[in-house]
């Protein structure tokens, strides 16, 4: 029982990071129907940004988090502006391939600039372990989970309650009609990239704290897993992406805990195949009706 609870705690911290990443995939897909393969690399940029501001300027956690989020948001907006916007009217496959290109550019560009070696992530705070009835929880785990949850709630409020959030939803269901009521579609898309990328940046600093290690290729696998999480939850759905992230985190931790670490990534891909076969719309996904 204790072992199970312990693993659940671990799974939730990891899952919350996947959830943050999955949200960005889902939002961007919702608004421009693009699987943004460069999203995992934005998360890597966020992690590196946090790495530098913590080790060079000794920023505390909150300030480092905000810096990583802002820098990632800017990166997302710039990438959308230069790489995806000129292709707005092109076939989807062209944009998809561009996204893969951007991903390679970020991974290799970063390797070139900072070297491809893994480096250890600086300690943002002293780790303290709490032992509650035999279950060990560290303050870092609590911080990861709390940060992720707060960001998810803030995102949900932004999307559901603010004018900009309404515009995002309107553009994602019907861009032309949104324009006809006065929405600037380009600004709304930039805003969506900024939000999604900021969450990825937050995921980056949190994963640095979780694994204590970062490298320029760190975004590849979590990027794909978060994509699977977004598909699992129902791509385009915000609560779905959160749930999908947690489920993938739980699944991965479970396979690790029964001694099958070597297969933990394979399991996630297997899940993708199963969803695509049996539940293509995901858990929260709607079967999109054809418009008349």
């Amino acid at each position: 029982m204790q072992i199970v609870l312990q693993q659940i705690i671990n799974a939730l911290s990891l899952g919350s990071i996947y959830a943050l990443l999955a949200l960005g995939y889902s939002m961007v897909y919702g608004i421009i129907k693009l699987i943004n393969f460069a999203h995992g690399d934005i998360y890597m940029l966020g992690a590196f940004c946090a790495y530098y501001v913590i080790s060079l300027w000794h920023f505390n956690f909150i300030i480092a988090l905000l810096t990583a989020m802002i820098v990632s948001a800017l990166a997302g907006v710039v990438i959308e502006y230069f790489a995806y916007r000129p292709l707005r009217k092109s076939p989807r496959i062209a944009v998809l391939i561009t996204a893969i290109g951007v991903s390679f550019l970020l991974e290799n560009g970063m390797s070139y600039l900072v070297g491809s070696n893994a480096r250890s992530f600086p300690q943002v705070m002293e780790q303290v372990n709490y032992n509650i009835g035999g279950i060990v929880i560290s303050n870092i785990q609590i911080l990861i989970l709390a940060t992720a949850l707060i960001l998810m709630v803030l995102l949900q409020v932004t999307i559901k309650k603010t004018k900009m959030g309404r515009a995002m939803r309107a553009v994602s269901v019907d861009p032309d009609a949104a324009e006809l009521v006065g929405v600037n579609v380009n600004h709304t898309i930039s805003f969506t990239f900024a939000l999604g990328s900021a969450l990825a940046g937050a995921g980056g600093i949190l994963i640095g704290m979780y694994y204590n290690q970062i490298d320029p290729l760190m975004g590849m696998t979590p990027g794909i897993k978060a994509f699977v999480a977004a598909v699992l939850g129902g791509i385009g759905s915000v609560p779905g992406a959160s749930l999908g992230g947690f489920l993938i985190g739980i699944l991965e931790t479970f396979f690790q805990s029964i001694g099958l670490s070597a297969y933990k990534d394979a399991v996630v891909y297997f899940v993708l195949i199963v969803i695509l076969l049996f539940l293509p719309a995901g858990i929260f996904g709607k079967n999109t009706k054809e418009k008349v």
Partner: protein
């Protein structure tokens, strides 16, 4: 001076010429109708006026100012709103949120609240369905929502693209009644219709469009009485 003047407008989709040198005008306070067969280019014309499409050639002047280069949000600010063909309400957003989207560019909060009240008085069903997903409304209710959403922008000129499409006779009557009322209250109207008889009977003037060109023009009564119009649109 005309409120809206379209001169020699040509619009292409790639190599397809959808609109070929169309000219017409709308005076302030009028109801002007544009009728024509499927594919004649009616929707293309209103989309171009709204700024969703760029014309290949021609001029569009609104209140003395050229708006041919303006994008849709700017034309909304100018006072031109469109109720698109097929309604295009925002599914997944509630009825209320759809109306809020209609007021997207409105700055004055108390004016906006007054706007909701006016819409709810005109369309009581929308108030009842306020917190419901707009996609769950019936076709006629969706049309009312689409009109209500456009009215939230306080338009001076309202472009209605086939507002009676897919509605039952009773609802069609209702929609035409609403159009007349809106016009009485000072909104100028461009009405696109398949329902030529009814459109012409409420219109001050009409234009008949065929394959991208204006074929005929006249007052509503003249066109109703025109034998050619009768042959093509009222089945002889």
């Amino acid at each position: 001076m005309a409120m809206l003047e379209v001169e020699n407008l040509s619009v292409n989709y790639g190599v397809i010429q959808a609109v070929k040198g169309v000219s017409f005008k709308i005076n302030e306070g009028e109801i002007v109708t544009l009728i024509g067969a499927n594919g004649a280019g009616k929707s293309t014309i209103v989309k171009t006026i709204s700024g969703l499409l760029k014309p290949k050639d021609g001029q569009i002047t609104y209140k003395g100012k050229s708006i041919v280069k303006e994008k849709a949000p700017q034309t909304v600010l100018d006072g031109i709103s469109q109720v698109p063909e097929g309604r295009h309400i925002f599914s997944g957003l509630t009825v209320m949120e759809n109306l809020q989207m209609g007021a997207f560019l409105q700055k004055n909060g108390s004016e906006v609240n007054k706007g909701y009240q006016e819409i709810f008085e005109r369309f009581p069903i929308l108030q009842k369905r306020k917190n419901q997903d707009a996609a769950t409304l019936s076709g006629g209710e969706q049309q009312m929502l689409a009109i209500g959403r456009a009215l939230m922008a306080k338009p001076k000129l309202l472009l209605l693209d086939e507002p009676s499409m897919g509605l039952s006779p009773l609802y069609i009557q209702e929609i035409f009644k609403i159009i007349k009322e809106l016009n009485k209250k000072g909104t100028t109207i461009l009405l696109i219709e398949q329902n030529a008889k009814q459109a012409l009977s409420i219109a001050d003037r009409g234009y008949v469009l065929a394959t991208g060109k204006i074929e005929l023009t006249g007052t509503g009564q003249e066109l109703l009485a025109n034998p050619e119009v009768q042959k093509v649109y009222f089945g002889g």
